[in-house]
């Protein structure tokens, strides 16, 4: 699917055109959903955060002064929503929902080999668990850099820190992960 440039989307969104909002959702929904999932490790929560993020974009687009890119602004909203969700007491008490849809898709990818699927899933679960164990600051940079593959500059803007801080946090996070995953890698 070919999407409009962000500048065109912003103009259309500010003019209140629904067509552009739908395009924006299609363009960014996967990124937001995946980021939220890696923060919260819960499909339902990721779904909720994705919806809330787009609602916030819809509500505040006229206030968006374009000092950063649209992508940076959307990621900032997503990270903040995820952090707030993690802080909430309800989040710590809840049971996580199972990834039924994605599981089914993975089985299909592995051509119906359950053993391979389980092995792969176990490995992924281990990595996800170790990411969750990281401190909040390190988790942010790992998700944004290694999973979302954003640039250091973009990460610095999203987290409102300088480039050096991003680098050092990322290095420490990778070292921690390397130590934790020594046995499975």
């Amino acid at each position: 699917m070919v999407f409009e440039q962000d500048a065109v989307l912003i103009k259309g969104l500010k003019a209140g055109k629904q067509h552009y909002f739908n395009q924006l959702v299609f363009k960014y929904k996967d990124k937001i959903y995946n980021t939220s999932y890696r923060f919260l490790a819960d499909y339902q929560e990721a779904n909720d955060i994705t919806q809330e993020c787009f609602m916030a974009v819809h509500k505040n687009i006229r206030k968006f002064r374009e000092e950063s890119s649209l992508s940076t602004w959307i990621y900032t909203i997503t990270v903040n929503l995820c952090k707030n969700r993690l802080k909430s007491a309800g989040n710590r008490m809840r049971e996580r929902t199972l990834p039924i849809m994605e599981r089914a898709l993975d089985i299909k990818d592995d051509k119906g080999n359950p053993a391979k699927f389980l092995e792969k899933k176990e490995f992924e679960t281990k990595i996800q668990a170790e990411i969750e164990k990281l401190s909040s600051d390190m988790k942010d940079v790992v998700i944004l850099r290694d999973i979302e593959q954003l640039s250091y500059e973009e990460i610095a803007k999203i987290l409102s820190v300088d480039l050096g801080t991003v680098k050092s946090r990322l290095h420490r996070a990778r070292l921690e992960l390397r130590t934790a995953l020594k046995e499975v890698l």
Partner: protein
Amino acid sequence: MENKECTGIKAKFSDYLDELLPESEMAELERHIKKCPACAAELEAFNKTVLAVRNLPRYTPHINIIVKINDRIQKNKNWWQKLNTKAFRGSVGAVFAIIIGVLGLQYYNGTGVAGIFKTKEEALLFKGGEFSKKTEADQKNLPAGKNKGSDKNPLSGKLQNSQETSSAFKKNNGRGNQQAEQKMRSSLAGLKEEDISGAPAPLRTEHLIIDKAFEQKSLYCANSIKENLVIKDEAAFKKLWGRCFDGLPEPVIDFEKEMLIAVFLGMQETEPKDVTIKEIIPGVNKLKINSVLTAIINAGTPEKKLSPYHLKAVKKSALEAEFTQE
């Protein structure tokens, strides 16, 4: 055994993998890796970790998420935001267009947009080309208790004996307070009748009209001669005033900027008529002054002789006056 150099090299692994190191440092790190198997193994493990995280599967939301988002946006909208649809905006626009159209039409026809915002009485006066002083004069006829309106016109009080409105003669029943009230009511009623009959059309003076300029109209004056006059100086006005309204205080007219147009019908014996200046139109060479005659159905005061007239001050004009009557 890890030495100082190895510690320094390991600290650069992250930047090395992200290709952020300067070329010299990159070459130095690669040289060290070649000669140090421990660091090489460590770099490989580090790289594997980063790749494992990078290769985590990417998840996507269900396709219907867009429907859910739009549903939630709709639910969270305030009532005025829900109203702000294309259809609603169109309807509001259409209503405004109609209002502007009606006001514009009224303005174009000369009925006066201001008239809409005035009281019924004022609006009627405005519409009929009548003047407010006439009503004020009528109000003076009311007993003190009934007359609550402020009367700033010095003329109106003193003119009450000689300047009874035409409508006052159309209805001549009752005495005392009742009579005075009747006069007040009939003044409005009379104006309404005139308006409905369509005899005196709205006054058209085009560029000559002056706000709050002197205007006077009645059925009685001392002038028994039919004549049409344009008075342009104080002396002529004093002479006319003395001849027609002797004993009454003169109104103030600025003859530097204004002139007075006077239409006298003279003594009305059989089939009495009233006169109203309908139009004052400045043409190329002449100033056309058109007045209309209306029949007085029931004068009701046979002891008084009718001499209707209409005086109106307008902007001074050098054009020659041409009087016509309908």
